[in-house]
Structures are given as C-alpha cells and as structure tokens.
C-alpha cells in the first residue's frame, strides 16, 4: 500500500516534470517575479489585476503559439506583426466599407492571413529562401498592403457587441478574448504532445535531413506551420480589434519581436527541436506580469523596455549556461 502510494507520487512528479519539458527555469523565474511583486505592490495580487493581466496578454499569447511551432522546426516568422495589421484592415474594410456582415469579414480576413503564411512557406520550401528573408519580405509586403487599404487611415465604428466581447466577463471572469487564447493554448499543446504531426515538428527541428530520411514530409509541415503562424497572427489581430474597437494599419509594429522574445524566454530553442507550448505560456506570462508589475510600480515605459531587454538576455543566458 505504502509502496504504491510512493510510486504514484514519483509518477506524478515525473509527469509534471515532463509536461514542463525543460521550462522549469522560466517557471521558477515567473514564481519569484510574482512573489516579489505581491510584496512590492498592494494591487498586484488582487483578482481584478490578475484578470487584467490575462486580458493584456491575449494578443501576444495567441501569436506566440504560432511562433512556437515555427521556431520548433528551426524557422522564424518576422511577418506576424504586419500580418496582424493586414488582417485587421481587411476585416475593417470588408465590414465597414463594403458592408459585409462582420462575421464574414473576419473569416475572409483570416483566410488572407493564412495565405500570407502559405506564401512564406512556399518561398522557404520550394525556392529555398531562408525563413528570415522570406518572412522579412512578407513583413514589408503585408505592412504596405495594410496601409494601402485605407491610405493609412484607421477604421472605427464596429457593432457594439464586437468590442463588448473583449470586456464582458462571462461567468464573472472569462472574456471571449481570453477564452480564445486559452483554446489556442490547449489546441497547440495537444497538437505538439499527442499527434504524429506535432512529434514530426520536433524531428524536423532536431535535424531536417534525418526527418526527411525518416519519411516525414518536411515541406508539407513547413508550409503548414507558417500557415498556422499567419492564421494565428490574424486571429490575434481580430482580438486586438475587439480590445481597441478600431483597426489601424500601424497596429502590431515590432510585435514579432515581443513574440519571439516570449517563445525564447519560455525555453524553446532558436535552433529548433526543443521546447513547447507550456514554456511559451510561461514566457508570455513573464512578459505580461513584468509589464503589469512595472506599471504598478510606476516605472517609466523607457525603463520598462530596458528591463525587458535585460530579462530576455538573462533568461537565454541562464538556459545556455545550463546546457553546458
């Protein structure tokens, strides 16, 4: 009896550890950060503030799942910020200027986002353009297109139910935007952990040639991953539009860098093959909590940027030292 209890405990421990997949360091960092902030400020550990943090990380969280897949296969997607803006503008144009129902506008805009990812993916696989360059080009193209739609103007005046989705707390705590983020987290986690496709991404990131010789369709998965990244960038754009109740072509500038930072802080290796969604969630939370905490402490935005830069450097350096 006693032995079996012990055994269960050990399994549970191993389970938690394997779920974290090397993200224990970031998790400890996140916990320490929360402890510090709960002592340094009065407001941090309030339910309202914690829910605020969840609301604030939705856009970053959704994009970071796509970026995790991309970085896991050893790629990079610099276009996500621009694709987000393009999606928002297409959605706004189709619904406000053309007069399509908003739902249809959202679906078409998401299709555009997916197509941008497909184009990047084909450039990378069929033409051999490095991912950095292919998505850098897409970043420029998508931003340009986003500006062309309204000649740089923002679009306002969405139906009131739309922005309420970002603020109405269903069941007292869950906004639709947070729900979307949580669903994306769960789907991403299930995919990477429990499907042949998800496992194949690890193989491709580990060694593309080994994966190819093992019969994995590397081109298919590569294109697929960029499509998902584009699609999630688009979805993040829809969420941002709900939160802002407007769309503008300058939205999401440099979001790709925040997203990459969150993924990397979460322990996913830029060389591919190592990491996962749990780490990314922790990385997103670290950035969200840090921003929120620095605001509560009244730290100036300029200093905040410095602090976040230092955290990124420390997190990755700690991981690199651990590897040795």
């Amino acid at each position: 009896m006693l032995a079996s209890v012990k055994d269960d405990n050990r399994n549970a421990g191993a389970g938690v550890f394997s779920v974290l997949r090397g993200a224990t360091g970031p998790l400890i960092g996140l916990i320490l950060l929360c402890i510090f902030l709960s002592f340094a400020t009065d407001k941090f550990m309030s339910a309202r503030n914690l829910l605020n943090i969840l609301d604030q990380i939705t856009v970053l969280g959704i994009m970071a799942v796509g970026m995790t897949l991309v970085i896991l296969i050893g790629g990079i997607d610099l276009a996500v910020g621009s694709v987000m803006a393009l999606t928002m503008m297409v959605m706004g144009y189709l619904s406000s200027q053309i007069g399509l129902p908003l739902g249809a506008g959202i679906l078409l805009a998401l299709a555009v986002a997916a197509v941008t990812g497909a184009i990047s993916g084909v450039l990378i696989t069929a033409l051999g353009v490095p991912a950095f360059i292919a998505t850098l080009a897409m970043m420029s193209v998508a931003r340009g297109l986003a500006n062309m739609i309204t000649d740089g103007q923002q679009i306002v005046g969405f139906p009131s139910w739309f922005s309420l989705l970002a603020y109405t707390r269903f069941g007292g705590f869950l906004t639709l935007t947070v729900a979307i983020m949580l669903v994306v987290f769960v789907l991403g986690w299930l995919y990477l952990r429990y499907t042949p496709g998800g496992r194949s991404l690890y193989a491709i990131g580990g060694n593309q040639e080994v994966a190819r010789l093992a019969g994995i369709n590397v081109s298919f998965y590569t294109i697929g991953v960029y499509v998902v990244s584009g699609l999630l960038a688009g979805l993040a754009g829809v969420v941002l539009a709900m939160r802002l109740d407007s769309v503008q072509p300058t939205a999401g500038v440099s979001y790709e860098l925040d997203t990459i930072a969150a993924v990397v802080i979460g322990g996913t290796s830029l060389s591919g093959g190592k990491g996962g969604i749990i780490g990314t969630i922790i990385g997103v939370l670290i950035i969200g909590v840090l921003r929120n905490g620095l605001n509560l402490l009244g730290v100036s935005p300029f200093l905040q940027a410095v602090v976040i830069g230092v955290v990124i450097a420390l997190a990755v350096a700690a991981e690199a030292v651990k590897q040795k």
């Binding site: 429990y194 193989a203 580990g206 093992a214």
Partner: protein, 497 residues
Amino acid sequence: MTAQDLTPILSLRQIRKVYGSLQVLHGIDLDVRPGEVVALLGENGAGKSTLSKIISGAVQPSGGDMTWFGAPYAPASPRAAMDAGLGMIHQELKLLPQLSIAENVFMGRYLMKGGRIDRRGMEERAHAGLQRLGLDISPRRVVEGLSTAKQQLIEIAKAMTLNARLLILDEPTAALGGEETQLLFRQIERLKADGVGIIYISHRLDEIRQVADRVVVMRDGAKVQEFDSGNVPVRTIVEAMVGRSLERMFPAIPVPQTDVMIEVRDLSSPARTFNNINFSVKRGEVFGIAGLVGAGRTELVRAIAGADPISSGEVILDGVTITPRSPRDAIRNGIVLVPEDRKLQGLVLDHSIQENIGYANLDRVARRGVVTSRQMSQFADAYIGTFGVKGRGSQNAGELSGGNQQKVVLAKWLARKPKVVVLDEPTRGIDVGARSSIYDTIMDLAREGVAVIVVSSDLEEVLGVSNRIMVMAQGKQAGILDRRDANDVSVMELATI
C-alpha cells in the same frame, strides 16, 4: 647527385597514434628528401590521412619522433607546421571564391605597409608565385570561376609564398580531367627541380608511375611495403594494399531465394554521379557494392531509397515499377536506408532513443491519430531490447557509442518490416564486437527473405557478407562478381579502372 644523398626534409620514426583503445597508426617510418615525390598509398582507413594530419600539425602523435632538416619537429597546430615550411593542399579546396587570388594567397597574413594593407606588394608577390608555377593569371582576378586545376595551383602558390619546403597533396587529381592532370604534373616537375619535397596521396594508381619517385604502401595503420621507384606494376601495388590483414569472423551467408525482390534498370543521376546502373537483388540475398570513394556508390543507393534525385531509369520492386521520388515514397513501398553518416543523417543526436525510433514509425505508434509518450516508449523499448542497445530509452542518442547508435538506426527501420534494406557503410567507426552483431542482423534479415544492399569501403567486409558484389568506378558499373569469383585483387582491379 640523387635524392638519396641529401638529408631528408622530414623524417618520421616510429610514429604511433592511439584513439582510446583503437590504435590507428603502428610505428610508421618515413623519409622525404628534397626534390622527390613520395606516393603514399592505401585503402580508405589505412591511416594515410591520420599520418598527413600528424605531419601537418592537425593531430598530435601518441608516440614516435619527427625531425625537420635534422632538427626535432613537433608542430602543435597547423599554423606551426606552416611556419616551419609545410604546405598541406587539401582534397577539398579551401580558397574563398569571392576574394582575389592575391587576397587568398595572403589570407590571414596580409602584408602591411604604414598601417594599411599593401595590396600592390601582395599582388606582386602572388604574381611571382604564380609565374613560378607557369601560371599567367592576374592576381587581382577573383577565384570564383577558375578551373579546379588552377585553384589547386593557387593553393600551391600560396604554400610556396610561405617558403614551403614540403608539400602534402591529398588526392590532387580527384576532380581533375586528363589535361589538367598533366598541367599539374608539369608543375610538380618544376617544384622538384627547386628542391621541394612532395608527399603525394592518391587513389589513382596509374598516375603513380608518372609522378612518383618512391612508393609507400600502408594498410591497417602500418607501413607494409616501400618501393624505391615509381615504376611498380599496378597489380603489385594493389596486392600490397589489400594484403592479408587480420582474419575477421563473418557469419555464414544464407542461400538466396529464387525470385527477384528489387531490380534497378538504367538508373542515372542528374549530375551523372552514377550512370546506367543495372542490377537485381533476390529475396534473401545480400548484394554488396564496392568501389573507391567518389565512385558513386552512396549516391546510387541514396537514389534507390528516394533520398537523392534520379534523372532516368527505374526501380522495380516485387515486379511493380515504383521509382521513388522521396524517402517517404520509398519507405511506404518498403525500401529503407541506413545512411552513411549516423550523426548527421541517421539520428537526431540531442533527442532520446525513443523519439528517434518513434520518428520513423509515427504512423504505426499512433492510435486513432494520437501519440502519447507512453506509447512511444513502449514501442521503442521493444526494439531496444530486440537489438541489445545498451542504453535507456530516455537517453539522448548522442550519448551512445557508435555501435549502439547504429543499432538504434537499424531498430527504427526494422520495426517497419521492410522488403529492402540499404546499408551504407554499416560498420564505419564501430568496434569489433558491435560489428559482428550488425553482421548477424544482416544475415537474419536475409534469412527472413529481405533483400539487403550493403555499400562498404571495407573490402573484407563486402567480401565477407555478400552473395554477389557489384564494383563501381567513376559512376559506372565496372562489373558484378559472384561470391566465388570475388577476392580483394579482382575487386580492386575493377575499382581502379
């Protein structure tokens, strides 16, 4: 005055090299005198490249002495050897194509004048070096676009501006055509006249007579024979190269079945690395492919397994034309490849054994589209046990010995019950014990009716495990020998055509 009368530039006495428990060089003696070309010959793995690495300072010997013009010589790095006056010309050229000839010649030691790079000085000296080799090209020209022979001569010119007294040429003619080879040989004559000593490593035995003053043959890390003239019959050299090394044990070879499992018809690659290859392998047959490095063996078997492109011809499996377009295609049809380079092509080294076995079998591990870590480890553990891999399933593949890594690669494929197994250099870098278990696996596969194709540079291995042996030379099939007619000499003669 003959070369014999001069003090040697370089003398090696009892040079040994040991890696762990493996001795790769056994007490080598070698002298190179001014103005002579010493040909260093041997099969792949005979120890030629280790020896040249020791001379050029890239590897430190485990024992023995070297002298340079009578003084002790122990280069701690390639740089130290270069400073002493050694020029190592590698098989793969190491010039930077976008830079000019002069910049390449003075790479890493640019001439300076008043704190600035002295381009004119560099160009003048590079030009002088080129002219000494009878090459009239502007030193300002970029290297890109020059023929391989000219690039090789630039490498030599580079060594000469460093006042090299001894050159090591590693397979200098491997990528050269007949005319370019003659150009190189004329330059070698000039260098000899200047008193430069040359160690000449080559697989092309017919050149030796033309260029060498002496011939040294190595086998299994030892110097087995030395000829005081380059004029030695090729057959004599081949016999010395293959010799009779330690007897190895090979398991009994099963008798093949009568029906053909896989047939290859007129197969060619786009780059003609192999050309018009025809053969068939029966069920339960072990088909060996022998040949020198660069003969096109690897490219051929990779193409059969869908890993490299095929430009024409077909692959017929069990009577059906399947000519694979991708590894995925080949695997689905039952053809699997154990690639030449385990570390780069066979395994993801920083992933676990379980994951590595799983990656090739995800479709079989999954139940209704779901894969769990538990399923992966159960699946893998069964095969880890069957193949006697010494390691835990959760261990990273990179932590295993070469032999155990190879067993993991075999395990991941044999789990699929393939029809054709292609093994490219299956025992390279693997110790004796693990080797025999890999041979046993090959025979077990044959007994089960699998067609096995084995590529190996280890002649004794091909002879020991194959029912029939195809010999390739320069992309062409030089002949197919039955086990009864095949021996080291007959194979080497076909391979060095």
